[in-house]
Symmetry: C2
Subunit: 99 residues, 2 copies
């Protein structure tokens, strides 16, 4: 997708992506295509607090703070699992829409 014109990045995007990829095999996904994973990520990111940074060199520090925060990561997993259940109920990718 497009680059950000103003140089900002939401580190939560990386945290959600990594968490989703780590746990997707335990989430009974109806489909794990790129489109469905994006749908799950977008839903989850709309529920989680954004963590924007203006300089990507600080990204590891913000990510580390999330990895060390066990309660926080549990919340993130729960939000992703809820989003995954929603998307699995009605997947919108080509595989399912054309069925």
């Amino acid at each position: 997708m497009e680059e950000n014109a103003v140089g900002v990045h939401n580190v939560m995007e990386d945290v959600v992506r990594d968490t989703l990829l780590s746990y997707k095999n335990n989430m009974n996904l109806a489909c794990d295509c790129e489109q469905c994973l994006s749908d799950i990520s977008a839903l989850a990111l709309n529920e989680l607090p954004p963590r924007y940074i203006a300089n990507s060199k600080y990204s590891p520090y913000v990510r580390a703070s999330h990895e060390a925060d066990h309660q926080g990561i549990t919340t993130i997993i729960a939000v992703i699992a809820k989003s995954a259940a929603l998307v699995s109920e009605s997947p919108r990718c080509e595989t399912f829409v054309n069925k």
Copy 2:
């Protein structure tokens, strides 16, 4: 900055960028370099609700809903103005840090 690996995009990034560029001349910025504008955007985006989409073709619909929402855009301007005041108090760009 890096592309998003999972194809999601926060439309609020575009709304904040456009609003900031429209109003920056009325915000008494200490500096309007790219770095300071990114700092202001990142601060504002951390306070505003994210509006992630998984398919960029829907971006105009989400943006239109923000443009039609006068109370919403007033809140966005207020958050950006607060962020701009914070960054203007202590700019971190090279122009100021090396002074």
